[in-house]
């Protein structure tokens, strides 16, 4: 038998195996059809819209009637001096969100995992994840009341004599990123713990028992059993979040921004909004072009993170 023939028969075996498995799992296949449809309809379907990034798109004229302008829209973005500020701000704020969001969620999850009193645990969980359901408009309103010059925080600081004149938390560029980080952590910390707590419940209790018998204290058990137990979950979430680094959120920055902090508050989304809707004539295509830029960078980041994780022999997404 020649090499080719061996390979051919192995191939045949593989294909046969594939169809046999398919036959066995046909229920699962049918169940996944709606999800596939969903993905094609809402994630791939809109990709047609990317064509408008190369047009002077006018919705009334439609895709067929609008004028093609080549890379003009991208040229506008990449030659505008504030666009790269916007890219920097987007990255900075989402990086802060990612690091602090993840660390705080894991910390809270570990703490909750150690709590033995069920009622207390449930209460803390509920209280910490309730803010997740608040609209950003309300959160921004609360932030205005707390952090403004006449806000609660300044009143406390001044009563305690820690500062003589109010600190303008909302009007100083250097505070803005961190303020967004703090608000996001407050809002999402409880929600973020859910998945880690779920991962922790799947850790085999006998591991804890064995560690305890070996003389591991509470901290050591956390360090050597709990944290390694959620590592794979952590890695998958991390890689996915890195793919979303171009999404720094929109509403909060938009609602809290002012002229004073523009250089720090304006994300790619806000930039696109300013120049696609804020102008005397709408330029829808700038928004599309900025969105396309974000998606491409996001894909590159995702694949990059995945490759690094694989190189480090860690859990990967793909």
């Amino acid at each position: 038998m020649t090499n080719g023939a061996v390979r051919a028969s192995a191939e045949k075996g593989k294909i046969g195996h594939f169809f046999r498995t398919l036959g066995k799992q046909y229920q699962l296949m049918i169940m996944s059809v709606p999800m596939l449809l969903y993905v094609f309809l809402f994630n791939y379907g809109p990709l047609w819209g990317w064509l408008t990034a190369f047009q002077d798109y006018q919705p009334r004229k439609g895709l067929a009637g609008s004028k093609w302008v080549g890379l003009k829209n991208f040229e506008f973005l990449f030659t505008h001096n504030t666009f790269f500020l916007a890219v920097r701000n987007t990255f900075a704020m989402s990086l802060i969100n990612l690091v602090f969001g993840t660390v705080s969620s894991i910390l809270l999850a570990v703490l909750l995992n150690e709590v033995r009193n069920r009622a207390f645990k449930r209460t803390v969980q509920t209280v910490t994840y309730l803010p997740h359901f608040l609209s950003m408009v309300i959160v921004a309103g609360m932030a205005q009341n707390i952090f403004s010059g006449r806000g609660t925080l300044n009143e406390i600081l001044m009563t305690l004599g820690l500062t003589n004149s109010p600190i303008l938390f909302l009007g100083e560029g250097k505070y803005f990123w961190w303020l967004i980080g703090v608000i996001n952590v407050w809002k999402e910390v409880g929600w973020g713990t859910i998945i880690y707590i779920a991962a922790m419940t799947s850790i085999d209790p006998s591991l804890y028992e064995a560690a305890a018998i070996d003389g591991a204290g509470r901290f050591q058990r956390i360090l050597h059993v709990t944290l390694p137990g959620i590592k794979s979950t952590f890695m998958v979430l991390l890689i996915m979040n890195i793919g979303h680094l171009m999404e720094a959120g929109f509403e909060l920055q938009y609602l809290l921004r002012s002229g004073l902090v523009m250089d720090y508050s304006d994300t790619i989304d806000i930039f696109a909004l300013n120049y696609s809707f804020g102008t005397a004539n709408p330029h829808y295509a700038y928004g599309t072009a900025a969105g396309m830029f974000k998606s491409i960078v996001g894909i590159i980041l995702l694949l990059g993170a995945n490759r690094i994780a694989r190189a480090l022999d860690e859990e990967t997404l793909i």
Partner: protein, 555 residues
């Protein structure tokens, strides 16, 4: 029995048809969707004026009002033909609608025979029809304000520096005339009254600087230099070449921001000024804590109404036409011109969208509503109910009738505000001498619209009307008012230019006093490139408008 029932049924059906046949000549009832690019209160279902419109014309309105950002809302509405309302008012950004081609040309529906009222309206004495038309000669929007019949009655409703009346009273009714006098008064008052009557901290001078309301931050300089509102440019009306320039980057703009810088460091302007949004600004005003600000009267009407409803008459505002002190302008004495001659409110008001199935009926409605009978109903309300003829045979309102017009709930049921605001209307005076707009009718303006506090206040100041603090209106320049010019062709640079001011002017005001010059120079350097583009564009447009205006008088 069956037969009887069948006959009965047939009879019932025939009878049911009869009214329909009889009513054949009455127009079929249609529902018009209408959007207004400003916040309004939803009229009640049994609103008396809308009910009469429905009875007389068979037209019902379904209202949608702006909630959120105007430009974004318009952008989204225009993105989909299906979501276009029949009647479309783009508020302060209506040029967008015209440029995007979502409005129909109204001219083909207007004729001397078919719509005599509208025809007359558009050929009125102060109407420059040429200036209303697009480059291709289309008319998309009939101005909602500024068409004058007979006698013009000019009251102040625009830009000014404002100050709480109680502060003037505290100053023995001496009224500041220049920038320095104004801030000196605020400083002295604030030093003696750090808190208001309710124990809340007083704010010396408030500056709203976000979104399109940034005009509170940017516009004052032109007025301090003695010009009416041309938006962001100063046009030299004595120059045969109509020299036009942005003023924000000129040397004469600096003293104003230097003054604000000084006041900021004295605590007269609070840092929150530059981070607050309009809601906070308005609530500060309505609480009676803001001593002064630069704004336009119509832009904070709701705060005034709220203050009046709370009985805080002394906290309402007096409009002041301030100018630069001579020391800032080489010793020149500047004469103020805050009030301009009436200009047509070009590109403001209702357009009819391409989605509308009944454009002809809507134009006919505009025409019918322009009849004297309907104009009185829309402006004044119903005789006996909302107004009366007084012993001199003049139209008048009692204090109670007039006060209703400050009551949002009452207005929802008894006035057609959202419609009134956007349709073409008559202003000036009726043929019998009464004012079309009741709020400027002498009997009302000097009596019913004034609180007792106001009357006493005016007497103490030695004036009879609020306008007595101002010079006589200037004759309107042939180009109108330059803020009306559509910035479409340079919209990206204009946007950058606006954002730079929103960003830098607060920086200048908050800068360390010894770094002020440096910050100002930096600002000038940053703003100059886009200022140049904007200036060149405006110069060209002003010249075009002048040519059109002078051309049309020559005909």
């Amino acid at each position: 029995m069956k037969k009887f029932l069948a006959t009965l049924l047939a009879l019932a059906m025939i009878l049911g048809l009869v009214p329909a046949v009889l009513a054949d000549d009455a127009p079929e009832l249609i529902t018009i969707t209408a959007f207004k690019g400003a916040a309004f209160d939803q009229p009640t279902d049994d609103n008396k004026i809308f009910k009469k419109i429905e009875e007389d014309f068979g037209i019902k309105f379904e209202w949608e009002f702006l909630a959120g950002n105007l430009d974004e809302t318009l952008g989204l509405k225009m993105a989909d033909d299906e979501s276009l309302p029949d009647l479309f008012d783009g508020g302060n950004s209506a040029e967008k609608l015209e440029n995007a081609g979502v409005l129909i040309d109204l001219l083909p529906y207007i004729s001397e025979e078919g719509t005599p009222n509208l025809w007359k309206h558009l050929h009125g004495t102060n109407v420059k029809l040429d200036q209303l038309l697009s480059e291709d000669g289309e008319l998309f929007i009939i101005p909602n304000f500024g068409v004058i019949y007979n006698q013009e009655i000019k009251r102040h409703n625009g830009p000014a520096f404002f100050i709480q009346k109680k502060v003037i009273a505290w100053n023995d009714y001496k009224v500041p005339k220049t920038l320095n006098e104004y801030f000196d008064l605020i400083e002295r008052y604030l030093a003696e009254n750090p808190k208001n009557e309710d124990g809340l901290d007083n704010i010396g001078f408030h500056i709203l600087s976000k979104t399109w309301r940034r005009f509170c931050l940017i516009n004052p300089v032109q007025h301090l230099m003695g010009r009416p509102n041309d938006g962001e440019v100063i046009v030299d009306i004595n120059d045969p070449g109509w020299h036009t320039e942005t003023f924000i980057n000129q040397p004469y703009a600096k003293p104003y921001y230097a003054k604000l810088n000084e006041e900021f460091h004295k605590g007269v302007i609070i840092p929150d000024s530059f981070t607050m949004d309009e809601d906070t600004y308005k609530s500060d005003l309505a609480k009676g804590t803001v001593i002064g600000m630069f704004d336009q009267t119509w832009a904070f009407n709701d705060c005034t109404a709220s203050l009046l409803n709370q009985g805080k008459y002394e906290d309402t505002y007096l409009a002041l036409p301030l100018v630069y002190d001579p020391e800032y302008v080489d010793g020149k004495v500047i004469e103020e011109h805050y009030i301009n001659g009436t200009v047509m409110n070009k590109d403001r008001g209702f357009g009819i969208s391409i989605n509308c199935k009944y454009p002809e009926r809507l134009v006919k409605l505009f025409d019918a509503l322009l009849s004297d009978e309907w104009q009185i109903i829309l402006h004044w309300g119903f005789e006996g109910e909302d107004w009366y003829y007084d012993e001199n045979g003049r139209m008048n309102m009692t204090k109670e009738q007039y006060d209703h017009r400050n009551d949002a709930q009452w207005k929802r049921a008894n006035m057609a505000e959202p419609l009134y605001d956007g349709i073409p209307k008559k202003e000036g005076t009726m043929d019998n001498g009464n004012a079309w707009d009741p709020s400027v009718q002498d009997e009302i303006y000097y009596a019913s619209s004034l609180t007792d506090y106001d009357k006493e206040f005016m007497a103490k100041c030695g004036v009879e009307a609020w306008e007595d603090f101002f010079n006589k209106p200037l004759e309107c320049a042939p180009y109108g008012e330059a803020w009306q010019i559509d910035k479409g062709p340079i919209d990206e640079d204009y946007q950058t230019w606006c954002l730079l001011q929103e960003q830098w002017l607060p920086k200048v005001i908050m800068a360390d006093p010894d770094k002020l010059d440096e910050t100002w120079d930096e600002f000038i350097e940053v703003i100059n490139p886009t200022s140049k583009i904007y200036t060149d564009f405006m110069q060209e447009e002003v010249l075009k408008l002048v040519e059109k205006a002078l051309g049309s008088t020559a005909q």
